[in-house]
Symmetry: C3
């Protein structure tokens, strides 16, 4: 429960109507009931404002709703997220170190750390204040984990990895698995030991079953604020910049570098040893095979190999006409040959 | 060991030959030995019937085999599956709640529940009769699991998820991980709490390392009888209908709706906020980007963006001719221009 | 620490310079310091040899470096891998069977086996000498594991699977999950019990969150020396040959056969019931839908459906020109029709 005027302060907005009303939940505009707070982030749903049962609505400036209390702020979607976080409170109660976890004596834990049953934490691990290890998490030796991280159930962090503050690992995420490196030895392959590490900087989130491979030598690094969705594959020695968003099932091959503020659509990919600049967006299923420099304007690419998105879209729309085009070309050749013959005969 | 006549009753078929013979195993037609039951689902393998060592063969009506006992039934493949299930018996012996599992006091278990060592089950979880949790399964708080479910090793079910009866999770499946939702906050991203849940209805099966994200608000729902293969990604707020089959490495993006009896080939995908009707098949690697309505006849689509499968196939077969086509077009332009010139000169 | 002359013996090379110098680490040529050994595998980086601070350099025959001690051998990359392995030493100290692991009484362990806390090992499992099970590994009943295997944290091996010697499973790899098999039963699906097994031969490596499904009947088999990267999906009854390399997020559908010494680029796929010969390379995102025979020379295919790689590359480069080509064809048709008209009128 929170008073609307307190929530307004939280999100740097102001209340139009009675700021003392209390809300207990945030709900979508079409299912909100009395006591709920809802939000209008897309003006096209404005007509729903008059019928929603919600007690109050978060709106952008310039939207007035007769007989409805509104919380006006510049970015309603962000305000919704912040209020939701506030109302949710701490996700996992502090439980300390469970007697049913297996924590090496040399582990160094900060204040308010929670280690749930079934976790295994190796030698010389450092865990920062307020960090939570949900059940079944395995931390190998010599890992450093920052403050207020959440490592969900069955996540694995292998030896020597370094996680910053507020890092979130979804369930079964794997940090620091061996890079895929083999030296040909006659007709077989000899495994190249992967002795580098993984560094996840502050505010990085890694999705379920996503896998970040350790470097062969040196580091695989994901910079501050970058978010990875489920089943993303990051190969050894990859470097990813800040605030980059990588959606599900994307793969980035070995030693590639991705800039800041890039966005990857689902199932897209980057080949090995490629360098991409900042502010580049790769469409779903796209595949980057060449270095990409940042232009002044943000760049969007699609297709495989990835080309300018608009060009790709036009080409993709034409793709279904290929057989008809081929037929026409053959027909044109015949017609033209015949015409040439006619002219020669004249 | 089972008598053929008893198996015939089980599958609503009848025996031609000696129904009292006993079989102990089901085996493929080319490796079956004496004592085995085999099956003919595809008539093109009919010639193998005469050489198989199997004691008896499941056949469709109208197939006679000299000197071989047959079990005749309408759907031999289904009969084979049912007999295999019968001969296999219960897969996991009932073991009760292991003293080496960590089960909260508030957990409510039905009859004949098995919880293996290394499982962790949170507060207020309800587990139905006959359900089995294999080792290392982690269940967060407030989860409801129906009857006769099998949750394989290291599967994770996050808070508030609801599983129906006879749900199967393969190893390391993840149910209820956070949806991938972030609100832009200047140049960074602010995590949107994902406070919705996941609902898996009766008879749903989820493959290994498949990930079903919880809704931002509301539900992510997979309806009765739908089967997901390994490493399928289902994003937040997705709704999937009944008896839909989704093969490995498919991704369905946020808030999309998929109908009943749909089929997805490997590595295919659906973009966000798309609605697909019933009885639609998407070919391997296909990508759906627009709403698809069910037509009277079943629909098959392929390619990215997905188009009619036959058209796509023809276009895909023409794809390799693109350079030759381009050359021909340029040649035609030249020839035509020259011809125009010749005519003008005449 | 190792003397260079001893390392030379290990890799069948020889030292030019002082063989008694000691090195303690292998480092990349641009970051190597005094005390480090570095390597030159690609002659294009030769200029860096004069500036590197490394104590010694592994080089191929014919490369001389003024004032620098060199270890000359035929295959510097392989030598680098072998020396790295030697300097690394055993990765995981022998710890025996942890009292915090849950190991059935019927398990048969060889010498020097390590079973870490939180592992669960089922009935009648056989584990060979020197094998290591990291924390959280779950082994179902009747599994056989060879010598000197490493099973990383939270890997799962289901019932009856057989692993050869020196097999490596990265974290959360899943071996022996159910194949995806269902018999249509009216409008629903009936699960076909998957009663076959998985066999991983000697020296196989399986990446993080990769899933190898058990056979319906019979075996799914991955032959000696084959390496799978993260999140690879191998369906039921697949057979993969020796020394084949399958990079991340590849999917091989049911009952397909892949030969020896094949290579798969990231996110490529093989459809079900396809047979591929030896020495075939499939490019990233490629999809094999037909049987492929080995030719005398190694074969490279790309695209979906996969075609000769060079042809695909040319066609892919032409793809963006499709709209322009279509426009030209339409223009040609018009121009030609007009020309025909003109000629007729003459």
């Amino acid at each position: 429960m929170a008073k609307l005027q307190d929530l307004a302060r939280l999100v740097e907005g102001h209340v139009v109507g009675d700021g003392s009303v209390e809300v207990c939940r945030v709900a979508p505009i079409d299912t909100a009931r009395s006591g709920d707070l809802t939000f209008l982030s897309n003006p096209k749903y404005r007509s729903q404002l008059t019928v929603t049962e919600a007690t109050a609505v978060i709106v952008p400036p310039g939207i007035e709703v007769d007989g409805k209390t509104t919380l006006v702020c510049a970015n309603p979607y962000l305000a919704f997220a912040k209020i939701l976080t506030h109302l949710q409170g701490p996700q996992f109660p502090e439980i300390g170190v469970s007697s049913q976890a297996h924590v090496a004596d040399s582990v160094c834990c900060g204040d308010s750390v929670s280690i749930h049953p079934g976790c295994v934490v190796g030698e010389n691990v450092i865990i920062g204040d307020g960090t939570v290890l949900l059940p079944g998490v395995v931390i190998y030796d010599n890992v450093r984990i920052g403050k207020n991280c959440i490592l969900h159930a069955n996540a694995v962090v292998r030896e020597g990895s370094r996680l910053g503050d507020r890092v979130i690992l979804q369930p079964s995420a794997v940090i620091g698995s061996d890079g895929f490196g083999f030296a040909p030895d006659g007709s077989s392959y000899y495994k190249i030991p992967q002795v580098g590490i993984v560094v996840l900087e502050d505010d990085v989130e890694i999705g379920s079953c996503a896998c970040i491979d350790r470097a062969a030598l040196g580091e695989t690094r994901i910079a501050r604020g970058t978010k990875l969705d489920n089943m993303v594959h990051i190969a050894h020695n990859v470097q990813i910049g800040e605030d980059t968003v990588i959606t599900a099932q994307v793969g980035i091959a070995g030693s590639s570098k991705v800039g800041n503020h890039c966005t990857f659509g689902g199932q897209s990919a980057v080949a090995g040893h490629v360098t991409m600049g900042d502010n580049i967006t790769i469409g779903g299923k796209g595949g980057v095979t060449n270095n990409l420099k940042t232009e002044d304007a943000p760049q969007v690419l699609s297709g495989f190999p990835a080309i300018n998105h608009r060009e790709w879209l036009k080409a993709a729309m034409t793709f279904g006409h290929l057989p008809e085009m081929r037929k026409k070309i053959n027909q044109l050749e015949k017609t033209l040959a015949q015409l040439q013959l006619e002219i020669e005969e004249k």
